[in-house]
């Protein structure tokens, strides 16, 4: 490979773009609106970068740590149920304009969360919602046939257990506190957190200690 040429910048030697090639119509629209907002002084580039970094930082691991702590620490669990916003703040979670509400699964009660009107979700604790949570079928059906939908996720709830659906219609965001699997008493917080998946905190699954 020769480096002798200096002035040739034809297409053969242009750096090949990556994401740019796959931008669709609304991807272009986003780029256009973003540039205009920056030019008009509505948004500063640094604000955008900081906002984007949030998505990499925020995952269900945050919620899992909080649930594991609640399993181990009765005082923390009481605080989490009583004043959830305050309890999660010590984990650096800022709920912003909305209020966190924690619902606890028990041997006689199973909770499951949906937003039938749009896609409200406790993003600060769980990161971004999965596609199915935002899907028409989940939003339409889990309110009126929760047991069938839970069954599609492999979660069978006995007839003696109350199923309680929470429709997240307004300014609350819900976290399900799943039941701690039997036989995991005395486990470390990290080991317990490993059992707490995103779906257990939405309520479509139960926490399990595996085989």
């Amino acid at each position: 490979m020769s480096h002798s040429h200096t002035d040739e910048h034809d297409h053969a030697t242009t750096f090949v773009p990556d994401e740019e090639l796959s931008l669709g119509f609304y991807g272009l629209a986003e780029a256009a609106v973003r540039e205009l907002l920056v030019e008009k002084g509505v948004i500063e580039p640094a604000e955008l970068r900081t906002a984007l970094e949030w998505y990499d930082r925020t995952t269900p691991a945050t919620g899992a740590q909080i649930v594991a702590r609640a399993w181990q620490d009765a005082t923390f669990k009481a605080a989490l149920l009583d004043d959830p916003g305050q309890a999660v703040a010590q984990y650096g979670v800022n709920m912003g304009h909305v209020q966190l509400y924690v619902v606890e699964n028990t041997p006689t009660l199973h909770n499951v969360i949906v937003c039938t009107l749009c896609s409200c979700y406790p993003r600060a604790l769980l990161g971004m919602p999965p596609d199915w949570y935002k899907s028409r079928a989940y939003r339409a059906r889990v309110v009126s046939e929760p047991r069938t939908v839970l069954g599609e996720f492999g979660t069978e709830i006995g007839a003696d257990i109350e199923v309680r659906v929470h429709d997240s219609t307004a300014d609350l965001r819900y976290l399900v506190l799943p039941e701690q699997p039997a036989g995991t008493e005395g486990w470390s917080t990290d080991a317990l957190a490993g059992l707490v998946t995103r779906d257990t905190m939405i309520g479509v699954a139960r926490a399990s200690a595996g085989v």
Binding site: P17, L36, D131
Partner: protein, 126 residues
């Protein structure tokens, strides 16, 4: 639902779907594309305490009034971007021509092929 049906008993918004018959929940997921995250981030910034231009209520209202055809045809973040455009134009922060012209300019600048046109939101006069 036609506009004439608004406000009368039984009027139901096209987004208000709790209890409707639907098929099995397709348990699909996808990693958000970078442009989808940027749309989300734009909405977060436009709705923060500093700007207060587009809070969740405003985004939802825009999605609920962009037209049922768009609601059904666009993907999730296409809907959000269409809603952001609708609100920014209706509030007079920018106009549709600016946005269209800039889209063409970016496409030319990046030297990428034209994107397949997608439906544009119904925008009320500012």
């Amino acid at each position: 639902m036609s506009d004439a049906a608004k406000g009368v008993p039984g009027h139901r918004g096209y987004h208000d779907i709790g209890g409707l018959a639907e098929g099995p929940v397709a348990q699909t997921e996808h990693v958000l594309e970078p442009w989808e995250k940027r749309v989300d981030a734009l909405r977060v910034l436009l709705g923060d305490n500093k700007r207060q231009i587009l809070r969740a209520d405003g985004l939802r209202h825009a999605i609920e009034t962009m037209g049922e055809d768009l609601y059904l045809e666009l993907t999730y973040y296409e809907r959000w971007m269409a809603a952001i455009i609708k609100v920014l134009v209706e509030r007079g922060l920018m106009n549709e021509t600016e946005i269209r012209d800039r889209m063409s300019a970016i496409q030319a600048r990046l030297d990428i092929p034209p994107a397949r046109t997608r439906p544009w939101p119904r925008i009320e006069s500012p």
